[in-house]
């Protein structure tokens, strides 16, 4: 690292270290390694492979202050939600804004509380999946996160409804770094909607990390929705999941708005006969930039993964898709399917798509594909020739293109955000 970069990193981290009461204080076994990581890890730059197309200078070079838990939370995309609603404001669990419906076998509380009341479970799981030793922003999250959602589902617990988790970040130059821990014991089932809002027009930096443990025969389904409305809003969203045998993990990520969004989804498939589904969709306008990095690690035999990301890029927007699939030597009979499709609508928009398959087993079925193209003008003409106006024809075709992914979204409330009829 050059002295300049060293200095920049120190100045960036300095802003956070003044904070008290970080979760790490109750995790002594991690403290030394986090300290080392923050010292050693570089700021990602152009030659850092996993950050090649996403610049972080604008985050590093700006001033940030820790947001207040009392900041206002703006409108919800789900005002009529009747189930349990968990609200985090600037990374802090807000019990007063949350509506929690007690259910059998469910422990739902703040990470802050969990570090006192469920210290042992938290200590065992927290940061056991995540990559704080390799990624600066993951180390940053672990070092400075103060709160988040702690959710533990007991054996065979199945909730009556889905849980909505809403994350609001607001306030001038606010940074939020929360850390969520979700644990599904054997046979448990959880459906969630996770929404992220960059409230108002404030410049914000959100570095959010969730670890999800999907136990044996458990099922986790989550629809993630991102709506960062402001121009100077930077969001890193990281999910780490581990699957025990016979489990299912399904995640959809819909980026509705976001000027600078980096999504990291990492799934370790550790047990046999698992199913892993990752879906994603983005429709980018103006100078928006969205980077989806995914990793699925097949370690054992007889598992299946499906990955499908589709996006449309207008104006001067830029997109990145990087999908890594490992099929380890022991992971025979793996079925891994990956597809990324993009339509670039303007000469000034661009897409960087990189599927990466590393296969070390010899009896597997794996496929990947990436297509990036322009709008099918012949199809537009065909629809127009039947009496459909040009604008409606284009809308119909856009819907049809991303429709394949939209139909995989679990919750009708999320589908409705795309104007899909239920």
């Amino acid at each position: 690292m050059t002295p300049v970069q060293d200095h920049k990193k120190a100045a960036f981290l300095e802003q956070f270290s003044k904070d008290e009461e970080v979760l790490l204080a109750s995790l002594p076994h991690l403290q030394a390694s986090v300290k080392d990581a923050l010292e050693e890890l570089e700021i990602p730059h152009r030659r850092t492979e996993s950050w090649k197309y996403t610049r972080v200078n604008k985050i590093i070079n700006k001033e940030w202050k820790t947001g207040s838990s009392n900041a206002p939370s703006s409108n919800s995309l789900f005002p009529n939600w009747e189930g349990s609603r968990v609200v985090l404001v600037n990374g802090f669990f807000r019990e007063d804004l949350s509506t929690l419906k007690p259910e059998d076998g469910l422990v739902l509380t703040s990470m802050k509380d969990a570090s006192k009341q469920h210290g042992e479970v938290l200590g065992q799981h927290c940061a056991s999946l995540s990559g704080q030793k390799e990624e600066l922003f993951e180390a940053h999250n672990l070092a400075f996160a103060k709160d988040g959602l702690f959710l533990h589902l007991n054996k065979n617990a199945a909730l009556k409804g889905s849980i909505l988790l809403e994350n609001h970040v607001s306030g001038q130059r606010t940074s939020a770094q929360n850390r969520n821990l979700i644990i599904l014991e054997q046979g448990a089932q959880l459906n969630m909607i996770v929404a992220h809002y960059g409230d108002q027009e404030d410049p914000i930096f959100s570095n959010d990390l969730s670890e999800v443990f999907v136990g044996e025969n458990a099922q986790f389904t989550c629809d993630l929705v991102q709506s960062y409305q402001g121009e100077e809003q930077f969001a890193i969203n990281t999910i780490w999941a581990n699957q025990a045998k016979n489990s299912r993990f399904t995640l959809s990520t819909s980026t509705l708005q976001g000027n600078w969004v980096r999504n990291n989804v990492n799934v370790r498939v550790s047990g046999e006969n698992c199913e892993t589904n990752l879906y994603g969709t983005y429709q980018l306008r103006n100078k928006q930039h969205v980077d989806n990095h995914t990793m699925i690690d097949h370690k054992v035999p007889h598992c299946e993964s499906n990955e499908h990301y589709k996006g449309i890029l207008y104006d001067q927007s830029t997109g990145v898709f990087n999908g890594k699939v490992f099929v380890r030597e022991d992971a025979q009979k793996t079925n891994a399917f990956q597809q990324n499709g993009n339509i670039v609508m303007s000469d000034n928009a661009s897409m960087n798509s990189k599927p990466e398959l590393e296969i070390y087993a010899d009896d597997v079925k794996c496929s990947h594909g990436s297509t990036t193209g322009q709008f099918d003008e012949e199809a537009v003409f065909y629809l127009m020739a039947r009496g459909i106006s040009e604008q409606n024809a284009r809308e119909l075709l856009v819907k049809a293109f991303v429709g394949e992914v939209l139909e995989k979204i679990h919750h009708p409330e999320v589908k409705a955000l795309f104007g899909e009829e239920e």
Binding site: F381, L383, A385, G387, E390, L397
Partner: protein, 253 residues
């Protein structure tokens, strides 16, 4: 009688190549016209230009369609005014169902004509009736537009759409190409069922065979971007027998 379509000295080019070089044609309501001609004579260009494909540049002339300056409005407005093109190569549109797309088209056409939209029940009854006309399987009507359809199914789907939209004038661009006799018979049956004193057809074809099934009132020969010969239906037989060289020779004289 007031003509339904009058094309006057139409000139058009694509990528700088002049294809139509002053084409004249008048079609009255209820008439069926066939345009034949050798490859490259401009047959499909004529169909595309009339339907409003913007890949072609109109460089001169005028087209009047039922009192409207056709060249002044876009493809969608032309369709709303009652012009229909059955494509030579129907486009596959994954993710858009045949039914939803026709529902959307009919909705816009009805809005344009300021008539009440069809109820869901009326629409489905119409789908059932019109798909039977061209023996199109009910499953196909629900699938994505033309996706995975055989060549014959695509052409029958074009005629099905025509029957659903009930245009004033239909242009069939080489609808017969690549069809076996059975499919050709079904397509022709669909077209003939739609013939009426108000509705006109322009059949663009390379082969006389189609005209055994859809008997035209007039046959025109298009050659080098102009109509060089017109006659009754017997002209098609003469062309079939003698080929186009005969026309070319006659032109040279």
């Amino acid at each position: 009688m007031k003509p339904l379509l009058s094309i006057n000295n139409l000139q058009a080019e694509v990528e700088g190549h002049e294809i139509l070089k002053g084409l004249n044609l008048t079609i009255n309501p209820g008439e069926v016209h066939a345009i034949m001609g050798p490859n490259g004579s401009g047959k499909s260009t004529l169909a595309s230009v009339l339907a409003g494909n913007e890949d072609y540049d109109v460089t001169g002339g005028s087209v009047d369609f039922d009192g409207i300056d056709l060249l002044d409005i876009d493809a969608s407005e032309r369709a709303k005014e009652g012009l229909f093109l059955a494509f030579q190569y129907p486009v596959e549109i994954p993710g858009v169902s045949n039914i939803n797309f026709l529902r959307a088209a009919l909705k816009e056409i009805h809005e344009h004509k300021e008539i009440d939209p069809l109820t869901a029940k009326e629409f489905l009854a119409k789908v059932k009736e019109k798909s039977a006309l061209v023996e199109l399987d009910g499953k196909l009507t629900n699938r994505s537009v033309n996706e995975g359809f055989s060549g014959g199914e695509k052409k029958r789907n074009e005629i099905f759409q025509m029957a659903m939209l009930e245009p004033k004038m239909a242009i069939l661009d080489e609808t017969d190409s690549g069809l076996d006799i059975d499919a050709l018979r079904i397509v022709a049956q669909g077209v003939n069922a739609m013939r009426s004193p108000e509705r006109s057809f322009l059949l663009i074809t390379h082969y006389q065979r189609l005209l055994d099934y859809i008997v035209p009132d007039f046959v025109h020969v298009l050659y080098k971007g102009q109509i060089v010969k017109s006659g009754p239906k017997e002209l098609a037989l003469e062309l079939e027998e003698k080929g186009y060289d005969w026309i070319k020779e006659e032109m040279a004289l």
